[in-house]
Symmetry: C2
């Protein structure tokens, strides 16, 4: 029992800011900055779905509480778009709020969630925030992150199962999977997803499917894993990167086909944030208008693909299949004489204006990797930032 001035064992296990050691250096950057460490988009959201479009005279009460489950017209529009029962939809504070709610609804203290690595850096802390234990499962082929790699063939279904199965213990409750993947840029095939769904079913596990980049595949078909296991899959979606509303905190989770599950999700969500912001929900509703969202996404997808391809080409990496990130093995730029070679490398990047995320925040094995978001700044800024990285990796 911690009492004043001690803090709780829960937050003691949670990661702090990965950038706190670097904050003063980032603040001191002179000249142009290349902030490619956060996942975001440089594009403003579609006209019609911006805060300035939400007028009190057209939306009286828009600053008042919505229901904790979400603004009913938004829930109905989501359900219509996806062809699902609206009672499975909970509107959340982006994917972060979605997984916090799912974790709260499904984990007991000490329960384990298998996290396919490398992964979205925020995710393990979300599991910790509800008392769970994230377990790193090295999954995506690390050869693909090494400059000079040709397009590395994806895992076969058998290989995928062989990677995951050994980590299942009697404390395992769920498998977290993210495709299109942050940070690898991989889009998992239907065969692999089906094999993982069957593995989950045969072990009585939940599937937590993070599909926030579902609209950003640059070729491969994106198939929802829920297709293969609708009874056990929670699927998270977001308007953050998909539609330029990251700072507005709005997304949603679609629960499994189990009666009453949305009520359990809502309990956790309403007691941690009450509801997603109503203005953001109105913006999301505008985006679901077929006349507003799809054209923006088509434009964004083209621009994102071009930025990703240019970055991959410059860094001699396979082009991303989807998403907004590259994961880069930077051993060529590390100096073994440094105490902490990756940290020293990140500092050298910052000294040239480039901010990247350390690979370790995507999984313990990634001690010589960085994550780069190729959409968090305008394309010309990204190009110049990638150029800095290429030079530091000896690519002239």
């Amino acid at each position: 029992m911690p009492r004043h001035p001690a803090v709780s064992p829960t937050v003691r296990t949670m990661p702090g800011s990965v950038f706190s050691r670097l904050a003063h250096r980032i603040a001191a950057i002179e000249g142009e900055r290349y902030p490619l460490h956060v996942g975001d988009t440089w594009m403003e959201p579609p006209a019609g779905a911006r805060m300035e479009d939400l007028r009190v005279d057209q939306h009286p009460g828009l600053h008042r509480y919505p229901p904790p489950t979400g603004h009913r017209p938004l829930i109905d529009a989501i359900a219509r778009t996806r062809g699902i029962d609206p009672d499975r939809v909970l509107v959340t504070l982006g994917a972060t709020g979605a997984w916090h709610a799912v974790g709260g609804a499904t984990l007991a203290p000490g329960d384990e969630v298998l996290v396919l690595a490398p992964y979205w850096p925020l995710f393990p802390g979300i599991v910790r925030s509800v008392g769970g234990v994230p377990v790193d499962v090295p999954f995506f082929r690390s050869e693909a992150f090494v400059p000079g790699a040709s397009s590395v063939s994806a895992l076969s279904p058998e290989e995928a199962v062989a990677q995951v199965a050994p980590f299942i213990t009697e404390r395992t409750v769920a498998i977290y999977i993210n495709s299109p993947s942050n940070p690898t840029g991989v889009v998992l095939s239907p065969d692999v997803l089906k094999a993982i769904a069957e593995l989950a079913r045969s072990n009585g596990l939940w599937i937590w499917s993070d599909e926030v980049y579902e609209l950003y595949s640059y070729g491969p078909e994106v198939v929802p894993i829920a297709t293969f296991a609708p009874e056990r899959t929670f699927s998270a979606f977001s308007f953050s990167k998909a539609h330029g509303l990251a700072g507005c905190r709005v997304g949603y989770v679609v629960g499994p086909t189990l009666p009453g599950m949305r009520d359990e999700l809502r309990k956790m969500a309403m007691h941690s944030a009450y509801s997603a912001p109503l203005p953001s929900q109105l913006a999301a509703l505008a985006i679901l208008d077929p006349a507003v969202g799809p054209a923006w996404v088509d434009h964004a997808r083209t621009a994102y693909k071009q930025a990703g391809d240019r970055a991959a080409d410059r860094l001699q990496l396979p082009r991303p299949e989807g998403g907004t990130f590259l994961f880069v093995d930077v051993r060529a730029g590390l100096r073994n004489s440094d105490d902490d070679p990756l940290h020293a490398f990140l500092v050298r990047c910052i000294d040239r204006g480039l901010v990247l995320a350390p690979g370790r925040s995507s999984g313990a094995p990634y001690t010589h990797h960085v994550r780069l978001c190729f959409t968090s700044a305008a394309p010309d800024v990204v190009d110049r930032g990638v150029g800095v990285l290429a030079e530091l990796l000896g690519m002239g």
Copy 2:
């Protein structure tokens, strides 16, 4: 270890919607509705602090991620307004997000929080959401809730301590106190607050002070309890009811004068919601402009006081000292022949368009009470809704 399809022990202990049993009846209301069950305000936020005022051309990037601790200019403005160190301020999803973060940072599973009752209905579930145990402490004088009560004198400091002290166990970690009080309308005196602060200190407890109604006293001086115990007090504030931004989900918590505590709060906040919405933070920043917020609050305070006084007079209750609620003993309207007399009474209210919150959601002892918000609809609507209640209580 719950696995598919079981849910977690955490959400099993959390309350569901108080209104789920009544939802179909509320939906079926014909004629005018008096939705006095939620705490909200009928007023739109100040001009200049509405979503329509947040233009991309003036705030480029306003839809993008802010830092998880909050938008730096807002933190600085809060710190300046309060005369405190900005490193003590975490911007949150209203008070709900504030207490979720504080609970996550200070409670271990099973730790107890003393909750002075009757209380804000959402609060115990927030404690549950982080694995804590809320303990009801009957505190405010229940004589004051009975129609016909004269203005009931407040508790003396000795009485206040005598009410709370017996509930302290070796599992107690914090005392939650809310003044001006939701739902009683009481503003606690500096002497009472000081006595509680000393009780907390002598037992090594944290103080969780909910001050979201700090600007809405209708007479008594509002003194922050942190004055008496700055080393152990977390104070939550909100722009929700204070400035008409409830649906925008923005508030903040000021941590104790302990180095590093804000980092612990931020961990929980960023892993449950990432950040408060940036547009809402920009609206809050506009409100802190001395030319924008104070005039609105002065206007609101006058209107709220008038609505509260009229409601209290009609119901023959002491006028509220602060806040936006009345807590009403409705025994005069209950029928012992009903299976669940309070539920049946709430249904009779709904059949006449009036929605109230059951007293039980503010504490187990309040089985014959209701909570009424006198600012959640326009004053004339509130007046008519209060009239319905008065009639059902036999006041003609």
